[in-house]
């Protein structure tokens, strides 16, 4: 009784929600700041973004609060203890996955094309920067111009994106004749081909340095400042991520976005409406791939190292899981899905197992450390069964009919 009254009150009053939210942010960021190291507090702080999503505040206010959270509060709160780089590493990797998941969401969620080789585009971005910003290029072209300095990182974000988009199109042209689950296996094959080729292009001409990977990749640099710590990369990732989110949001409700969804729902009807199938699908491939490519550049610059083992099929599947878990076609859902999976994998499972192994003596076979795959599997099955439409289901865009009748259209 009390509970329902409370929730009604919360539901009806945005002000109430806002103050609760601010309180929550304050409490969680304070605990992140003052506690030496608390994963819980950090997760709660991240969770405030989710709470924000569920409030009934205006969109503009939501944007402002989330920007404040991401750009000011989180970096500041984490700077309190010694764990800053740890939190930030998780945040950076999560950000990279979110961008990739949003890219895949265009392909799978919007356009309905099942792609099981998506990580290939990430690899292309990573190698594009990796080759030119490491001693590899100097050896390849026998030129002193290479390796490119860290200042080249910035244009390479775009170049990496474009390269990935180009490969997206090259893959798409032959592949898009294939439908449904056949497409899945063809893209899977493409992903594997890319990885195997990268793994073996050390001969006859050494382009990728094969399985040894590329090391000593230059880190980003601007006005003499070098980005080397996770807390510094965080801002690059946030910036790209914001661009990606805005782009996806704009695409979603555009002519192209509607065409994707139309194709997903019914190809024949979509064609009858004048939508060119191949071109529209190629755009989905290219744009989705470009997000991945951009983050690939960031990835190689951050790790200063790339090798083919980062781009296995499991990665592609993980990104797909993020999209489906979050809710196909739903932008906030996909962001949540990517966050949950990467935080789960990078922090929660590690923390739980560390806690258990460092505090109790457990026989080796039983060690939960080795059970991560099992736990991950159980989580996936439970989610599939209990939230089959994803955590945040995609909702069609609603319009206010009142706004549509005001002025009669003059367009005819």
């Amino acid at each position: 009784m009390e509970m329902s009254k409370w929730s009604v009150m919360m539901k009806d009053s945005p002000k109430m929600q806002l103050s609760m939210l601010l309180l929550f942010i304050l409490a969680s960021s304070a605990s992140v700041y003052f506690l030496e190291r608390s994963v819980t507090a950090f997760l709660l702080l991240l969770g405030s973004l989710l709470l924000l999503h569920y409030t009934s505040l205006s969109n503009r206010l939501k944007w402002i609060i989330s920007l404040l959270l991401l750009v000011v509060i989180i970096p500041f709160a984490t700077s309190g203890g010694t764990s800053q780089q740890d939190y930030m590493e998780v945040a950076v990797q999560t950000g990279i996955y979110i961008a990739m998941a949003l890219g895949l969401n265009i392909v799978v969620g919007f356009a309905g094309l099942l792609d099981l080789g998506f990580v290939a585009f990430f690899a292309i971005g990573a190698y594009t920067y990796g080759i030119f910003a490491s001693p590899q290029a100097a050896q390849l072209f026998h030129s002193d111009f290479f390796p490119l300095a860290g200042t080249w990182f910035w244009p390479f974000i775009i170049i990496g994106g474009l390269m990935a988009a180009l490969f997206g199109i090259l893959l798409g042209i032959p592949v898009l004749r294939v439908k449904g689950d056949y497409l899945a296996i063809v893209t899977l094959g493409f992903g594997e081909i890319i990885r195997i080729v990268f793994n073996n292009m050390d001969k006859p001409v050494n382009i990728t340095n094969g399985a040894q990977g590329l090391s000593q990749i230059n880190q980003p640099e601007i006005f003499g400042f070098t980005f080397s710590l996770a807390s510094q990369f965080y801002f690059i990732v946030i910036a790209i991520l914001l661009i990606v989110i805005i782009a996806v949001r704009r695409l979603e409700d555009s002519k192209l976005g509607r065409s994707w969804k139309a194709i997903r729902e019914d190809e024949i009807a979509a064609q009858a409406m004048g939508i060119p199938l191949v071109k529209t699908k190629l755009w989905a491939f290219a744009l989705g791939a470009s997000f991945s490519g951009m983050m690939g550049v960031v990835f190689s610059a951050k790790n200063m190292f790339v090798d083919p083992s980062s781009f296995t099929l499991i990665e592609s599947i993980t990104i797909l899981v993020m999209v489906i878990l979050g809710g196909m076609g739903s932008v906030p859902g996909v962001i949540l899905g990517a966050t949950i999976i990467s935080v789960l994998n990078l922090q929660i499972l590690t923390e739980v197992t560390n806690f258990l192994t460092q505090n109790f003596s457990i026989s080796d076979t039983l060690s939960p450390m080795k059970m991560q795959r099992l736990i991950f599997g159980v989580v996936l099955v439970l989610i599939a069964i209990y939230r089959p439409k994803g955590l945040i289901t995609a909702k069609p865009k609603k319009v206010d009919p009142g706004k549509l009748i005001d002025q009669p259209t003059t367009d005819k």
């Binding site: 506690l35 030496e36 190291r37 608390s38 994963v39 819980t40 507090a41 950090f42 997760l43 709660l44 969770g47 989710l50 709470l51 569920y54 203890g81 010694t82 764990s83 800053q84 780089q85 740890d86 930030m88 590493e89 998780v90 990797q93 793994n199 073996n200 050390d202 094969g210 399985a211 040894q212 990977g213 090391s215 000593q216 080397s228 710590l229 996770a230 790790n303 200063m304 190292f305 090798d307 083992s309 980062s310 994998n345 990078l346 922090q347 929660i348 590690t350 923390e351 739980v352 197992t353 560390n354 192994t357 460092q358 505090n359 080796d364 060690s367 450390m369 080795k370 059970m371 991560q372």
Partner: protein
């Protein structure tokens, strides 16, 4: 539904809050981390490294207690994944009680993770990484007690051409960083020694059917086969080669150094050689005692990497002790530990003697060539070669 979801979320968060908070460390705890693959298909090796390190920690707990410190192992699972390795490295860096790292197994994970250690001024002692790159990039944190690929590859090639008189060699490798690294160094040296390379082919690790490549080997009729990769594939490869009537000598690097070779290849294991960077300690009394201790604790035979893990951790702990003493029996900072470890000379470990050079490579890293014979493990020693 939403509410239920939110309540569930907060409950799950609360339930792990205990974990988050209890991680706070008091001032006299010193931890040393290990990073190795503890899950996935390389877990056997990763676990051996961790177990070896664990034994070393156990040996030192008392001594550190006397110094006033509570010594603990913090094992991390890098999943053989660079991303996971780097994330772990950040989290290791964030835990102020951790003063050093023993790891990794995969060079692909070690190289990017080492960058993070360097930023945190953490010392890393590698029990297994042989990639040349690792110590060539000028990273101050990196140390290793094992021989580099170039040393081992050329030692193997010298043995093959000089002692076994191989003239026409076929190379197979698993196309991992390790396999590619060691086999290309082997090929270089073998060619320099005048042998002909009949082929250099890759297999896919994790597969079990290598008949395709072996048909090619059969057609090329080599007099020697070198394999760059690890034992789980090599065992099968040996078996299938013998089944196909390919009877020429075969050889692998330290990756195939495992007693499991006998189980996997069975009776097919004839004329098979391997090189290792660890001296055979199974026959020394000390080695036997150690192996028994290991078995008593973990209920398993120690793999070679357990010895490396043990030695790597001991080297690190030696440096740690030095740093503590130098710091007036107070807890040293990471940089002090790093310097102390870097300065270690002539440390006698159970498998190898250790003196670090400027780059962090071990001056005493030696290559020992063994033969798999009579189900004896390690097999009889048939040759050895030092650095250069």
């Amino acid at each position: 539904m939403r509410k239920v979801f939110l309540i569930g979320l907060s409950l799950s968060l609360l339930s792990i809050s205990a974990i988050g908070c209890s991680n706070n460390s008091s001032g006299n705890v010193i931890k040393v981390a290990t990073q190795s693959p503890l899950s996935g298909n390389q877990a056997t090796v990763g676990e051996a490294i961790k177990n070896g390190a664990q034994l070393a920690i156990d040996d030192h707990v008392e001594a550190f207690k006397k110094l006033g410190f509570d010594l603990k192992l913090a094992p991390y699972d890098d999943q053989a994944d660079p991303k996971k390795g780097v994330a772990n490295a950040q989290s290791i860096g964030a835990d102020p009680s951790i003063l050093g790292v023993v790891g990794h197994y995969n060079s692909g994970v070690a190289i990017p993770s080492a960058t993070t250690y360097q930023k945190n001024k953490l010392v890393m002692v590698s029990p297994a990484n042989t990639a040349v790159e690792l110590t060539e990039s000028g990273n101050k944190s990196v140390h290793r007690i094992v021989a580099r690929d170039d040393v081992q590859g050329s030692a193997d090639a010298n043995y093959a051409t000089n002692k076994l008189h191989a003239k026409n060699i076929f190379i197979i490798q698993d196309k991992t960083a390790y396999g590619q690294g060691i086999s290309s160094k082997f090929q270089k040296q073998a060619e320099a020694n005048g042998a002909k390379i009949a082929g250099n082919e890759g297999i896919t690790s994790g597969e079990k059917d290598f008949s395709g490549v072996l048909n090619q080997v059969a057609a090329a009729k080599p007099d020697f086969i070198f394999y760059g990769g690890i034992y789980s594939e090599f065992g099968i490869l040996v078996k299938q080669a013998r089944e196909k009537g390919i009877t020429v000598p075969m050889m692998g690097g330290d990756g195939v150094d495992s007693s499991d070779m006998y189980t996997i290849a069975g009776d097919a294991i004839k004329d098979v050689y391997y090189s290792t960077t660890a001296a055979d300690v199974s026959n020394t009394t000390e080695g036997k005692k150690w192996a028994e201790k290991y078995k008593a604790k973990f209920n398993k035979e120690p793999q070679s990497y357990a010895y490396y893990g043990y030695d790597a951790m001991n080297v690190l702990l030696k440096g740690l002790e030095d740093a503590i003493k130098k710091n007036g029996n107070k807890k040293p900072n990471r940089e002090q530990v790093l310097d102390a470890v870097h300065a270690i000379k002539d440390y006698q470990g159970i498998a190898t003697k250790v003196s670090f050079d400027d780059k962090g490579d071990n001056d005493f890293a030696k290559i020992f060539i063994h033969k798999f014979e009579n189900k004896q493990y390690p097999g009889p020693l048939v040759g050895e070669e030092g650095k250069q």
